[in-house]
Amino acid sequence: MSELMSDRAIDRSKMQVSDEVAIEINNMNKWYGSFHVLRDINLTVNRGERIVIAGPSGSGKSTLIRCLNALEEHQQGKIVVDGTELSNDLKNIDKIRSEVGMVFQHFNLFPHLTILENCTLAPIWVRKTPKKEAEERAMHFLEKVKIPDQAHKYPGMLSGGQQQRVAIARSLCMMPRIMLFDEPTSALDPEMIKEVLDTMIELAEEGMTMLCVTHEMGFARQVANRVIFMADGQIVEQNEPEEFFNNPKSERTQQFLSQILGH
């Protein structure tokens, strides 16, 4: 796996973890049929935290972060996101989804809409933002991810890295308080990985609360304040990145790290 490091110094002045709780997961369990994917998950995320979730394939990382915006339903336990408990109440679910941005491995842009329309759709329909204002905000975020000149193209005309940055801008247009990333760079070529990671670093520098499933250990070292290691649907170990990489406690973690870092 790559140990891609950003070449620029990271500005840590705004990367502060507050005492305020952003996400709280208590004794959460989930099954697919009779298959127990997530077992007794307990996790508290404070505002401003940048958490990287790592673990072998099939360990339930995607399932965990998809539970946080109810793309998957959990069967037991309690999840509170931004003060709202995730229950079957559709109102709560829609509220949480509009506060939590999500970026997918395969971008999932809307191919029938232009880049600009991709970015303004949810603000206009969900937040009832006036069209003009939504477009201005979209251009602002597109500038931030460095592709304002592509605004009137369709997603199919962009490179993978550009599409993923548009996907990030699209989420940001909803002014989310928490961002979830599910392997945002796994479908990209190496040179595009960097441009997406740089965008994510900038986001972290602004103090965004981020939960990120990724195999980019360089990103984890540079940006994360906590790394969570999952295996077999359980949280096996969590620690600060330096401790986690240099001094892993559990055998599973050591085994995983030796595989992924190629030592």
Binding site: N69, A70, L71, L90, D94, K95, R97, S98, V100, G101, M102, F104, H106, N108, L109, F110, P111, H112, L121, A122, W125, V126, Y154, P155, G156, M157, R170, S171, M174
Partner: protein, 432 residues
């Protein structure tokens, strides 16, 4: 890697190779023929056989077509004019033109009404078919059905107005309450429409259609190609939305709705259309209140719509299934609710995939409107088989009449298919 090897391979370009035009190709008719028609012996044989076929076809039909007679008043007269030569008796078309187009009962002095309705139809369809046109034109499209109804059937103008008011009331109620709960808005809307229609029906004075501005024409007086067009346009425009609803219902997570849609679709697809039409003509009245006389035209419209909506639902289901799951997830994760996600994200893409299939069903439906001749409605085919071929003047002119019918249907269906190809090209946004 050894050093010597690396050295022999090392290379740095110092001069640019200038771009050159592609090698020129021989051109000309001779070259084209050799490449496309006579490239090998079997191909040459096929070309010659095909040419012979085309020749025999044209030599058989062209004299008949070109030598056609256009202005006689009966087959006998036409034969006399031809005097034993080969030639078509197209005069049946000119002499029975009105009957072929409007049927034999629609009052001649009122022909301007369906003509005007057809003209307005083109205006109403324009913003639906060509979505670059200003969206405001859709307002006319929305009232067009009521105008067309009034033009074609005539009678009291209050009837279409009350019908329109019913829909408006339903829309208002849905707007007001649909936001909170879809079901409340939906059923409230239906209730509002029923109330308006009943009150309106009560208020329209008895015999209002006697001396109305436009003389009333009963449904049984409709006929000819006009009837095919009316059935085709009405049924296609009703069965597309119904098909969408059925396709979404079939995907629904609510078991009862899903089950109803599945049973409906599977049942309708398993029954021949002609059976449904017979049911419409003789049996459907059992399902309505005993004193209600439901118009035969309406009954046929219901049956054809139900029939084709089941097919359209299956086509759209295919389109829905072809969309990656990520599109639903992206829509959900942005906080769009179900109606928004469907309307803005899922359906535009699924319908685009389904265009060829929907057009296929629409073309089939349009041609199937000729089946109503079997339940003694006098559409184009019914007119030909019935009043025209049975008349003493034109007994026996099959080719000209059936050829004309085929030609009319071909023109419309070819137009539909050309439009759909244009639409597919216009919507192709995901090319790389």
């Amino acid at each position: 890697m050894s050093d010597t090897h690396a050295q022999t391979v090392a290379f740095v370009r110092e001069t640019e190779i200038p771009p050159a035009p592609p090698p020129g190709r021989e051109t000309g008719v001779y070259k084209w023929m050799r490449e496309n028609l006579f490239s090998s012996i079997p191909n040459s044989v096929l070309t010659i056989v095909a040419l012979a076929l085309i020749y025999s076809l044209l030599s058989g039909t062209l004299p008949w077509l070109l030598n056609g007679v256009w202005n006689t008043s009966s087959l006998q007269e036409c034969r006399e004019v031809l005097d034993g030569q080969v030639g078509a008796c197209f005069s049946v078309l000119t002499e029975r033109w009105n009957q072929l187009l409007y049927g034999f009962k629609y009052p001649v002095e009122e022909y301007w009404r369906p003509n005007l309705a057809l003209l307005l139809l083109l205006i109403a369809l324009a913003p639906v078919l060509f979505f670059d046109l200003p969206r405001k034109l859709l307002a006319f499209t929305a009232v067009y059905p009521f105008i067309a109804f009034w033009l074609i059937w005539g009678g009291s103008i209050l009837v279409p107005i009350v019908a329109l008011l019913g829909f408006v009331a339903a829309g208002v109620v849905f707007q007001k309450y649909g936001k909170g709960s879809f079901a409340v808005g939906f059923f409230g809307g239906i209730l509002a429409a029923i109330v308006v229609w009943n009150v309106g029906g009560f208020l329209i004075p008895e015999g209002a259609s006697e001396n109305a501005m436009l003389a009333a024409v009963p449904s049984r007086d409709l006929g000819g190609f006009m009837l095919n067009m009316m059935l085709g346009v009405t049924c296609v425009s009703l069965s597309v939305p119904l098909g969408i609803a059925l396709a979404l219902g079939r995907q629904s997570s609510m078991p009862l709705i899903k089950w109803i849609c599945v049973v409906f679709i599977e049942f309708v697809r398993g029954v021949p259309l002609i059976t449904l039409l017979f049911v419409a003509s003789v049996m459907l009245s059992y399902f309505f209140p005993p004193d209600a006389t439901v118009d035969l035209f309406l009954r046929v419209v219901i049956m054809i719509t139900l029939f084709s909506s089941a097919y359209i639902a299956e086509v759209i289901r295919g389109g829905l299934a072809a969309l990656p799951k990520g599109q639903y997830e992206a829509a959900d994760s942005l906080g769009l609710d179900y109606p928004q996600a469907m309307r803005l994200i899922i359906l535009p893409q699924a319908l685009k995939i389904s265009i060829p299939g929907i057009v296929n069903v629409a073309v089939g439906l349009f041609k199937d409107t000729t089946l109503v001749s079997v339940i003694s409605m006098f559409d184009l085919l019914g007119m030909i088989r019935g009043p025209i071929l049975a008349s003493t003047e034109w007994n026996g002119v099959y080719w000209e009449l059936l050829g004309f019918a085929a030609f009319l249907f071909f023109v419309v269906c070819y137009g539909i298919s050309q439009y759909s190809q244009w639409l597919e090209r216009r919507l192709a946004t995901d090319h790389r």
